[in-house]
Amino acid sequence: MTKNKFSLRRAVNNMNLVRFRFWFQIVAFALIVYGGYIGLDLGDKLPTFACVFNSEGTGGKCYVGELQHDLKHPLEGFVGFAGYAFLISLGMFAVWFWVLNKGWCGFVCPLGTMQDWLTMAREKTKIRYSEYSWANRGKIKSIKYILLILLLLLPVMIANSVFGLPKLPNGLSMPFCDICPGRMMIPAFTGDFNQFYIDFSSKTDIVMTTIGMIMTGLFLVGSFIKKRFFCYFCPMAALQYVFSKPALLKLYKDGSKCTKCGDCYRACDMDILEIADDVTSKNLVTEDCTLCLKCVAACPEDGCLEANFMGATIFESTKEGFLVRMAMDQNKENHAH
């Protein structure tokens, strides 16, 4: 029994994470984007871009859309049904999120999966990837918080006069959905291209829908040349980070075992420097982390990095695992040549 248990752990630690993640993402993508066709309904508080505009196929709905919709009510409405429904929705979002933490981004998010597919396409074509410069990285990181504040504030300002300012037009009721590339890209996977439009009915609609189209163009090219291009700006990532501390899935680091070799940093799609540099913190789920676990797979030290679910190690770095994966990569390269 003990031997079997040990073998299972060894098999998990030695697994080909890239392949596992690739198939996991395909299954998650199919359920989120096409699940509605088989009657799947995971509710409307999902902490991932299960696009509400994919009306037929979606297997659940993104909470950001629901959040903007809930905030559009007059403030006095929040003492009634709308207020309680808002709290229940926020609570359910947190519960869903706590299960996988940022793993929603790395393993489930259909927009993240699309970006990974675009990265794979680039690698096939052998086009060089790009990186954000260190000088701009801090500014880029703050964009997601600005977007989060705007998506929370603008819907409130439609039904209420905030700080004595005039009420905003109804065209801003779902400001992030207007500009989110998921609105165009996710329904497109079900053959619905109707979300590609510019609305000329008001100035607000012209601006918002045009920004949406620009974002889609930037998303397609940006994700092709930069790994997880959009995740740096994603307000869902910012919202998730607020709830991240009590989540069940964590990325732990034992700083005493770290040699600062930098393999984890080089493997990271989000270029998170702390993963290699920080040897004092235990929990290394940062605001940009997508919990893709590439860093764990790339680490050559026994037990230095681990994915931990409710106190139990589910995947950890080992020397053996590192060598097995190195051999896999070598084989792949040999086959390619």
Partner: protein
Amino acid sequence: MKKIVLVLVTLLVSLWADTLWLDETKKKKCCEAKLGVLPLKELSVKSGTLQENEKLKDLNGSVLYIRDMDGKIEEHNLSGSKITVTPQYKGNYHLFLKHQEVVDGVLNVQLSTYRFYNKEGNLSCSWTKEVRGKTSDSRYLSEPLPQLPFQLMMEKTIHNHHVNCCLYVGDIIPLKVYYKGELLKDVSVDVELESGWKNIIKSNNEGMMMVEIPKSTYEQEKGDKKRSEKLLVSATYDVNESGVYDGKSYTSAHYVMSIPLSFGDTPLEYESKTLAFATVIGVMLVFSLGLYYNRRRKRKTPKEIYFDEE
């Protein structure tokens, strides 16, 4: 030929004259309901056409079936002149009105259905549903209501714009007619608009009737995002069947069922898809070229330094 036309016209006029339909009296704004107060919907029953109609003042003898999003059906015997519904949950509700009487040995069965989306529920009994966040309950019924012998059913509309929630000009409404659970294949529906336009749509070989909401030719109605107009579709069916209802015997039955709908002007009047695709492609081209030239510039810089040093 003349006789057939005359019979058809007479039949048409008589059918429109006895069509009943449900009408929401006052649409409440979202979030008006306070805690502890049940959301309330008030409806009235109208008889006639959309242009010329009268409100029924006595609904005695009529039955209302309320179907919630879980398929649970409640039956209510109506009285008075208005219908009051207190939906408990947030979601789609389908109402079915049945009014029948025997006149001159003919059983007249007048039916109407109406769907509304309840935005607020009773929190004490709906909080579990709020937690669940049920999203897949449909605006369209998948099967006929067993309580209705005759039913006109609307299926998912076909459209080529981006809005999925409502009906718009140009949308195609597929309709089917069922009699005692069986699909009728040789039938037609009468379509009528508030502005006066009327048409008869016949079924295809599979019993499907496709009603395309006509475009308004009135210049002042074009491109108005907030314009809303009513549409009434109704189907009739005569069958030889005998029986006794309310102590009166009948030898034939005449069924008529209506669905009142509302629609707006098509979003395609004020949106452009071509420009949207052009914008996406344009951004992709500009961004790609920018990257390409930026990379070329960066790659050349060290070479120039190298040659300078030599």
